[in-house]
Subunit: 315 residues, 2 copies
């Protein structure tokens, strides 16, 4: 319990996660309304779009329009996702966006082969060119990321030692290119993690690299996300991706039941109740979660948006 941090940083992924995953068409203005509402909750980083092939992900065909439609809050970094050079070039044209380069590996070769047609070695080799591309474009490379860090629907369990090895590879790439990473994200892409696995993996990594910060990206497909987040907090994790109302799912998980990231307002509620600062206004966030349900037109899985917070009961 002693490693519980005093403050965490939350990166809101709901708009990007949700709009790329929802089946029905959502009007650009409605997407913008949710992003603008989120930008006034105290959240200081929102991933708002992905620049991907509109044929593969029709919900992101209006990515540029969404970026142009928002009313930027100068205290918020609006970020984006891309999966290849073409997507990056589109992102680079949008001056409202804060672009952040990532050195990205995966703990599952079968996942990589299936989604990007590359094996682990090819993925690693490709990161050198990607870092050069970011440097040439003036985009800071401040994050490492490991997809499928806790298990894979196509490959099965992931040994802790493999994750340790991958973190080492990411740090080596960064060192070779003279970039200093702020943190490395462990993504539970297909929702295999349990709290015990979080503790084992983060524990092994922090023991090896006590000065590196780790972030968690936790999908909730099997209902473990909030428990996994708490386990991460106990291991001193201070950065989380999360998704308002639990918006989203992973279109690449090969699984129609895939759920979004850990629910932002549930995570903020938990942090409030245990004395960890997030800088985010829970009541404003709950209103955003209700708006998100209205925007997508169906119930979303978040709990605190339905159950409410506890401050109302305290005198």
């Amino acid at each position: 319990m002693s490693d519980l941090p005093k403050r965490i940083h939350i990166s809101e992924e709901g708009p990007r996660e949700g709009f790329q995953f929802e089946k029905g068409a959502i009007a650009t203005a409605r997407k913008v309304a949710l992003i603008d509402a989120l930008s006034h909750t105290g959240i200081d980083q929102i991933q708002i779009v992905s620049f991907v092939n509109p044929k593969a992900v029709p919900g992101m065909a209006d990515a540029e329009d969404v970026v142009h439609g928002i009313t930027p809050n100068t205290e918020v970094a609006y970020t984006a996702l891309w999966l290849n050079d073409k997507g990056f070039e589109r992102a680079l044209r949008e001056k409202r966006l804060t672009l952040k380069g990532t050195i990205q590996l995966a703990a599952s070769e079968k996942f990589l082969m299936r989604n990007q047609n590359r094996n682990l070695a090819q993925q690693l080799a490709g990161q050198h060119a990607i870092v050069d591309m970011y440097k040439a474009a003036g985009v800071p490379v401040e994050r490492g990321s490991i997809m499928a860090a806790f298990g894979c629907n196509f490959e099965g369990d992931v040994p802790v030692a493999r994750v340790v090895s991958l973190v080492g590879q990411i740090l080596d790439v960064a060192k070779e290119h003279g970039v200093k990473l702020t943190y490395i994200t462990l993504a539970d892409t297909m929702a295999w993690a349990t709290p015990l696995a979080i503790k084992r993996v983060v524990g092994a990594l922090r023991q090896r690299w006590p000065d590196v910060d780790f972030a968690l990206h936790l999908h909730d497909t099997r209902g473990m996300a909030i428990a996994n987040a708490y386990a991460g907090l106990e291991m001193g994790v201070t950065r989380f991706d999360s998704s308002v109302a639990g918006l989203g799912g992973c279109p690449f998980a090969g699984h129609k039941g895939a759920a979004g990231n850990v629910c932002t307002e549930d995570l903020v509620f938990m942090c409030n109740e245990i004395g960890i600062e997030t800088g985010i206004d829970l009541d404003a966030l709950i209103e955003c979660a209700k708006l998100a349900e209205d925007v997508v037109g169906h119930p979303l899985p978040g709990s605190v948006m339905k159950g409410g917070g506890l401050q109302q009961y305290r005198q």
Copy 2:
């Protein structure tokens, strides 16, 4: 992490929780079908009905018919809930039921006053007569229980010291009447608990009474139930109430967003994945969860019933 138990016991509360909470009428035969399906999953204790005023809880008006309708599995204890002498008398007539007497206190006087029109002292005093009543009827008194142990919508936060005091009072009542309690349930009746609160409360109790077993009854209104269950496991808790598919809610919480107990199949999934035995077949349980949705006629909150287990991906 070292206190994770090797095995836990799960008491299934879904039928009683769900059928007393659902708004629409559910045919007795459908209730029976769910209970019978649950009785073949390896679950060895199922709370199937409550004997309460049918005017107050119309969904339980057929309690006797449900009891008479099931096909008992001799390896399952079918239990029931009652709130007063009249309910207990009805339960006592049903020879298929395994009756278990409880010494029950509450950590919130306002909750007690509102629901039972008794203050804390009256509730404590009343337990002596109740134990005498159980003893006279030959019903074993093996459980203590504290309602609202982690906080109350009507009274606010509950100090740890109050829970410690209440456990002491329960043990004193038991001692005075010469009954040996098997365990004491801490009920998060209105879903105020966080994992940190679970650790603090259970930690304080286990330090004071290292030989007493504690059980957790965790409502999921604010999405914390599975994280709270994991925190309980880390504190060595070996008994949990849970609810298939997350059925239920508390009709006495004064809160229309109240959710059911921690979802049974999500809890079993987590235990399977971290190596804690439950004796329950997850696949059979997932089928029960799907049946539960069909019986109540609307989506239920369980995650693993939608996301599926992980064994299917392991070779």
